[in-house]
Symmetry: C3
């Protein structure tokens, strides 16, 4: 029976992991559709390497830093190159955590699209998957991580609440993306000399929407699978509730973002549109905000948090433009905006929340419990968010800054204007001669 | 006990995973439709499919699930669980998710038939009605424990519709038909002399992508409809459903392909191996499997799929003959395939159908399914006529001629699909 | 007992879900191929992939499954279950579905190598043979309980091929090789002076979409090949298979990318980071994992994937050197990767391979796998040569020069992909 349960849990992890792996496809095509046709191959190539360099790095060192046992409060240090691993369960765990790591890292390539040097990209990506993200995961999800453990015995069961990684995955990815976009500077022509924004639309909405749809599907497994087991009493309910809340949070985020975009433009007296890309990104932000606490909140709370995440997305979207930071994918607004909303709102809306060590009772979030520990929990999540952002921004600044000083961060102006596909990859995404060519080639 | 909890978890795992695949079918519908419209309306149709997901979720959360499965309920409608309140924690979240993806599927069928000419805000209104009210009531009749079609009249009589040939596809197909009629054809669809003018979609690749995804999703749509995996025999039923779905789709696709090729050849016209006809034939075959694929031998799946392929071609030509413009053939696929499924299932059922059983109850069962089909179509057509008719009278149903010619992407969304 | 029924259900659930993911790989193949041909042949290649699914289903239902797993059977072929009759209800439906998606995968490999110049009806004929006869016989040899490669000669000797590096990919790759040779290169593929003329596919985006879907599907392809999840240790094996598949693919992709870049740099030519080479290298790495990923440590997966990446580049250049035109590199990926997998698995097996065991049986096992590879290639090449050779003699294998230049979409399907 125990063996059956163990098998069942691993089956669950593997299947959810496959769906999450599929999210890489989603990111790849959301990004591919959102860049100009001259950089399509380049951005897809980056997403392919996210998968594959990510796998090698996570195999070599990443999993060890995150979940290696023994480990200290800051970092793990065992299982390098998958050695010393207990056979039972760790392979499934590796796979599941690996797809999370790939997700976190892939967020960055969107914000840095269309102007990053390819080899540079491979270097920073290696750092992100192999070191930056695993350390954050260790802090928050490993049994001995300092955010997970809380402050010590005097803190009465305090622990950082982040079920599926609003903070661990999306804040990390979003912060690195922000630093990258700032370090690179905007694409040529993104801002006019008078400071107004110049639209550089992606080359095909269809492909971007395909990516969005795949991400919506994958998020169900991302949040549902984060329960990590299905054989313990109550697991099924938690998984199902997580999925339901993810749908509702995404729906609220999408609808709110769509309406805000339409009405603000209408109020300003400009052309006002039902924007598909804003709707998709709003939905993603809503789902991102669900990651922190969707396992433990009633559906109405999911609608409320999704709504706030949709508003946060629009706020970050405008803030980025106002600061003249060029993020072709709105990756920062979606993942940093949505993730921050999730981490901060979860302790407010959770039903059960933390467990008091004295009474062994769930104390609830601020709304349902409202006692001292519930407020402490909010503070601890706030601290967690600050720590994650601080760590990621510090390392990223070091990394991108030194690359910028070395002059290897950004491609030359000529290359940027011509597009990276021909120059770096020799494979324009849509070669002219392969269309409607009905004559012999020579 | 321990084992019972494990079984409950396993069943919910099953529902959630199958539900995720069915959710993926929305992607399939979106791209089948996107590829089948002209490039100037691509963003518009994808936007509609995104909102199908999201407005659908909110409506199904607010009222839809309550009308369909709220307990207590009467024979006509349920009335509890509004805004997911009062829900028993155990199992209802998984149930909600699984039923929600079904509701989204039913409603999304409509946007295909009404593509390229519907006012966007109007679309949001009718869609809200469909997911929130029209479909849930049908689901209540047929699948809730107290629904009148489910309960039957007596003697174990019950409406047979395992995965919704009727509940999902007849409902969606009927609403699509009314919508297409109310809107009238796209500009230039029919020449002044009455002949058909082809308005091909802008990219076959994208349409085919959608078709492939739908084929994949249908496996979970029909397999998952067993609703549990932990009870004795569940595994066999799920596997049989999936196998039959493959075979039904295969027969439908091959038959439709051959019929299209040969009828044109006989008429002496250019005759082609049409990809889109093949894909739609396959979909019609899978739609027809929904009603009874859990309880029929594989040979019967081939037979029903073949009939569904023929039915699809018949409806396809009938629509053109009646000058009803359905850019996606949604009516032919879902109404044609769904009707075939509902009517043929009681004949071919392995346990007690007309062929294998042949007693009085088997014939009664056929009659009850026929009544069910009539009831579903009648209900949906009535409400849809009211809805689309009043919108038409108000003049908000269809976009202006200038907008239609220029395309909806630029005008409504400011995002041409291929700038 | 109750628990046994639960385990049976769980195993079937596992097979069905993995099968659905593998079915999704058809979508991957379709779009990898669609993106890699010129726009004038897009509809044609997608149509072939749709029919792979559907004709494959009918053939595998009618005869394929019977030849492969029909009981009783002899060492060479099975002979029962024709048209799914006489099947034991318990489990065989799930088994049929899972084996069917494997058969469809094996057969679909061929259409890539023969793209852009094959007569459509001819394609349907050879495809019918492949899914209905050639592949099922190989599967019978290697995976059925009584197959001669499976049974071995003595002393526990048995052909090692967990998920089909040999059964699926060598079979598909060999048939693809024969097909590509029989057809000859596309017009303009090789210049009169013998140098290679690039005929790039029309959209990298679509090809990459296909590649991504294949990567995802391979997880279920290799993980699902355990065929059960309820027995002690199943979970570990499935998870290890998936982990190794990721690592093998990663090594293959990175190695192929670097080799392509550096060899061109050394030659002093323009040197690029090629996306399509990277994707194909990753696929070759995953193909090579099929044989033994259930029983090797992760470091071995990295080693084998690396070798597979090199093998892919070797086959890629060999094909060009021999002036064989394979638009998709299907031979290099599946024959190259598959052969590497079959030969390396007995060396790196954790339980009793040459490295960890090193006894007499381990070396015998290597010899037996070598024999298996030779037998599979020999069988497939023999039948394919007969098939494609006779078609060539009849003059029905290849389309006319005029049709090839104009493209197959308009002529055969009447549906240009981008009207």
């Amino acid at each position: 029976m125990d063996e059956l349960k163990s098998n069942l849990d691993q089956f669950f992890l593997v299947i959810c992991g496959i769906f999450i792996l599929f999210m890489q496809t989603g990111f790849a095509f959301l990004e591919a559709g959102s860049v100009r046709s001259k950089n399509t191959t380049n951005i897809i190539m980056k997403n392919v390497l996210d998968l594959f360099i990510g796998a090698i790095m996570y195999f070599a060192i990443g999993y060890s830093f995150a979940y290696g046992k023994p480990g200290n409060a800051f970092i793990g240090h065992n299982y390098f190159f998958a050695t010393n691993m207990d056979e039972n369960f760790t392979y499934a765990g590796w796979f599941f955590q690996y797809v999370f790591a790939a997700t976190a890292s892939t967020i960055v390539s969107g914000a840095m699209a269309e102007r990053t040097e390819f080899t540079t990209y491979m270097v920073y990506f290696t750092f992100l998957t192999g070191f930056v993200y695993p350390v954050v995961a260790h802090w928050c999800w490993s049994e001995v991580g300092w955010l997970k453990v809380g402050m010590g015995e005097n803190t009465h069961g305090l622990s950082y609440i982040d079920y599926a990684g609003s903070g661990v995955v999306h804040l990390t990815g979003g912060s690195a993306a922000l630093v990258g976009a700032i370090a690179l500077g905007p694409r040529i022509g993104r801002f006019k000399p008078d400071g107004t924004v110049n639209d550089l639309p992606g080359h095909t909405v269809t492909v971007a929407a395909l990516g969005g749809f795949i991400l919506f599907v994958g998020f169900m497994a991302f949040n549902g699978g984060s329960q990590l087991s299905i054989s313990n009493p109550g697991d099924g309910n938690v998984v199902a509730l997580s999925v339901m809340n993810t749908v509702l949070g995404g729906a609220s985020g999408a609808i709110v973002a769509m309406l805000v975009y339409k009405t603000t433009d209408a109020i300003r007296g400009e052309d006002h549109y039902w924007s598909l890309l804003i709707t998709i990104n709003g939905g993603l932000a809503g789902m991102v905000s669900m990651c922190a606490g969707c396992n433990d909140m009633l559906p109405w709370a999911a609608v409320v948090i999704g709504t706030i995440a949709g508003l946060a997305f629009m706020g970050w979207h405008h803030l980025m433009l106002f600061c003249k930071i060029d993020d072709p994918l709105d990756a920062v607004a979606v993942h940093l905006g949505g993730g921050l909303a999730g981490v901060l709102l979860a302790p407010i809306f959770v039903m059960k929340g933390l467990t008091s060590p004295e009474t062994q009772q769930h104390v609830g979030g601020i709304i349902y419990g409202g006692n001292y520990l519930a407020f402490q929990s909010f503070g601890w999540n706030l601290l967690g968010a600050v720590a994650i952002i601080g760590w990621t921004v510090a390392i990223s600044t070091l990394l991108f800054g030194s690359m910028k000083l070395l002059g290897v961060l950004r491609v030359s102006e000529a290359d940027e204007l011509r597009g990276l596909d021909e120059i770096k990859h020799g494979e324009p995404a849509y070669p002219i001669k392969s269309y409607s060519d009905q004559s012999p080639p020579y």
